[in-house]
Amino acid sequence: MTAVAGAGAQAHGEGGAKLGMWLFLLTELLFFSGAFLLYAVFRARYAAGFHAAAADESTAIGTANTLVLLTSSLCMALAIAALRQGRVRASLLGQGATMLLGLVFLAVKATEWAGKIGRGLYPDSPVLLRREHGEVLFFGLYYVLTGIHAVHVAIGIGVIAAAFLLTARGRLGPGRYALLENAGLFWHFVDVVWIYLFPLFYLVT
């Protein structure tokens, strides 16, 4: 930054950063809502096919992953609280745990995908195309929505990793934690999206 050092001082309130993040999350919500719209339309049109296909999902794995993600959100909240109070090491621990649980979530998801793909269940596969329209679309939505969600989890882990490094170097601390808070908001958002995906694909049959 050259000429705008003064402008930066004027503009970068912690509150401004937070408002920006909320607006961004609003756009994320609308991004997912496009996919949810397709889910609603196709579910209404092919209720029976969706019912049959949902039986294929393992509720146990889904539940386990939900618990993993919710726990990670708790860790993130604790990490933010710790940084505010100046307990830097506790915050680092919390951030580390969040990232670890995020990776566990992705690993479980990958195993789940691998299992399905191993059985020939993937978009445009001969096995899937023999099934009924509703099942084709159910699995299409499953891969697309959980896939986009997984990309968000990965991005979230990246952002938290950046916050982790900055915290370790002392660039984030009790007086300046907007970045960590925003990372937390993003992480909770990803969590909330999963809270919707979980029933849509695993519980409602």
């Binding site: 050259t2 705008v4 503009a11 607006l23 919500l29 092919y46 993937y122 978009p123 084709v136």
Partner: protein, 536 residues
């Protein structure tokens, strides 16, 4: 362009190369100028493609074959829509002027602003790279309708990814502007003391935030369909192409207001300055911007009257479409009321602003014709639509862009341009524009379908007239832009307030210093305070 920014900061700037000093700058003014340069290039390229299409239309097959014709109109649309009118006025004039107009030193997130400029460049590069990759330029039309966009062998994926990146850029700009307006208004500038251009940028920012993500996810679906055959839009797998149209227009109709609202903002700045009167019904003009943005979400279905919808939804969408005309009419009538009894000066910015009002009114009124069900069925997908579209986009957003270019040119560059050349260019533009696009209304009513490569001989006179119009229009554009380019180097130095404007940007020097104001101004009254000796 020579460096227009005097370095007068306390902190000595790090020595940098010319290119780095610009590309790495977080100064909203520099970013605005870079966008402006890029947009002008795109405008010139898009216009050249348009002239090429018109040439092909008078002699089908002589210049372009059918495939190349499809690719030309697609590229014309993609460049003009996604790289020119949608980013258009907000990223160029919005970036340069928003902080100046509300008395701030910069936007709320300067580095995010630089990121959106880089994303714009990246998106443009990705779209242009699709021209040279396997399959060649896409031929889907700018709407990327499924299922054709999923099946064609042309390079749809790259173009679509490019548009996705541009969407990101658009979202970040909207987010930045909304936050800036909420938090960085100068002391004393309440919402109802804010000039009207920021009001429209605010409404536009919300539309960018709320509409663009839906386009993003739709584009992701196209790419997934192309690579993995997911089947959402493929009837053979149970999918539904109509769903694509819904998702596409849920974004792309509000996008029309991303293009037109800031244009209305520009006109709302120029009209009071050159009529020397306070805008008539300031509140109504400000709130109508928000109303247009709000109602604009609910009308996407009017693009699909012939696609297969229930009669109830068609009637509803038709009614809602008529509703948007109300706040648009409020603006038009208020501008006219402002002119009434004003002491009007017709300098170049005002000429372009008045042209906006005239051409946009024609565009809006023909919009009502298309928004009614019965005539819609008659003129659907004919040149009538193309005419309407260009009256709104080029006659609206394009003319406002040129108006803004002339109005703020002295402020941005610190130079004055030649008024006579600007007027000569304007005359050519006006004549060429109406010859080209009004003829399209006639052609459309006669039944000439749009996007067709060839046609029966009875449409030839219309096509010939339109093509001659396109030459005059292109000449006018060349005169206008050439005049400004010349003024960049040879223009006389501009005073701080060449037009006698009353908004904050005229209180600082031309061009403004790095942090805009020597001291952040304190606002004690509303904008456009003319009369009662209030003139500065």
């Amino acid at each position: 362009m020579t460096d227009p920014l005097p370095t007068a900061t306390a902190q000595p700037p790090r020595p940098r190369g010319f290119l780095a000093a610009w590309l790495l700058s977080t100064d909203h003014k520099r970013i605005g100028i870079m966008y402006l340069a890029a947009l002008t290039l795109v405008l010139a390229a898009g216009a050249a493609l348009g002239v090429l299409m018109r040439l092909s239309a008078v002699a089908p097959g002589a210049l372009l074959n059918a495939r190349h014709y499809n690719q030309t109109f697609t590229l014309h649309g993609v460049l003009m829509i996604f790289l020119f009118v949608i980013p258009g006025i907000p990223v160029s004039f919005g970036n340069f002027l928003l902080p100046l107009l509300i008395g701030a030193r910069d936007v709320a997130f300067p580095r995010l602003n630089r990121l959106s400029w880089w994303l714009y460049l990246t998106g443009a590069a990705v779209i242009l790279s699709s021209l040279f990759l396997k399959g060649g330029p896409l031929d889907t039309g700018w709407t990327f309708y499924a299922p054709y966009s999923v099946q064609t062998r042309t390079q749809v994926s790259f173009a679509v990814v490019g548009v996705f990146i541009l969407g990101f850029s658009s979202i970040l700009t909207g987010l930045n502007f909304v936050t800036t307006i909420h938090r960085l208004r100068a002391p004393g500038m309440g919402w109802l003391r804010m000039p009207l251009f920021p009001w429209t940028l605010y409404a536009t920012g919300w539309v960018q935030l709320l509409a663009t993500p839906v386009l993003a996810v739709t584009l992701v679906f196209i790419v997934l369909e192309r690579f993995f055959g997911v089947g959402f839009f493929d009837p053979a797998k149970g999918g539904d192409p109509i769903l694509f149209e819904h998702l596409f227009w849920i974004y792309s109709h509000p996008a029309v207001y991303i293009m037109v609202l800031p244009a209305m903002g520009v006109v709302s700045e120029i009209v009071p300055t050159f009529a020397r009167r306070t805008v008539y019904g300031y509140r109504a003009v400000a709130f109508s911007a928000v109303c247009i943005a709000a109602v604009g979400y609910l009308v996407w279905g009017h693009h699909m009257f012939t696609s297969g919808m229930s009669d109830t939804s068609r009637t509803l969408f038709s009614l809602l479409t008529f509703l948007v005309a109300v706040p648009s009419g409020v603006k038009i009538f208020n501008w006219v009321a402002t002119l009434h009894g004003g002491s009007i000066r017709t300098d170049a910015p005002m000429l372009f602003a008045l042209t906006f009002i005239f051409l946009f009114s024609i565009g809006g009124l023909t919009g009502l014709i298309i928004g009614s069900l019965a005539p819609n069925l008659h003129v659907h997908a004919t040149y009538f639509i193309v005419g309407h579209f260009h009256y709104v986009m080029f006659g609206g957003a394009g003319m406002a862009f040129l108006a803004a270019l002339h109005y703020w040119f002295p402020k941005i560059t610190g130079r004055l341009y030649d008024e006579r050349a600007a007027r000569a260019g304007w005359v050519l533009l006006f004549v060429g524009f109406n010859l080209l696009y009004f003829t399209m209304f006639v052609l459309g009513l006669q039944g000439m379908p749009r996007r067709y490569f060839d046609y029966p001989a009875r449409y030839f006179p219309g096509h010939m007239t339109a093509t001659v119009g396109s030459w005059i229009l292109a000449l006018g554009l060349a005169v206008v832009l050439g005049n400004l380019l010349r003024a960049l180097r040879r223009g006389a130095p501009a005073p701080a307030d060449p037009w006698g404007g009353t908004t904050l940007e005229w209180t600082t020097s031309s061009p403004p210093p790095p942090e805009n104001f020597e001291e952040i101004p304190v606002v004690t009254r509303g904008p456009y305070a003319y009369g009662e000796g209030a003139r500065r």
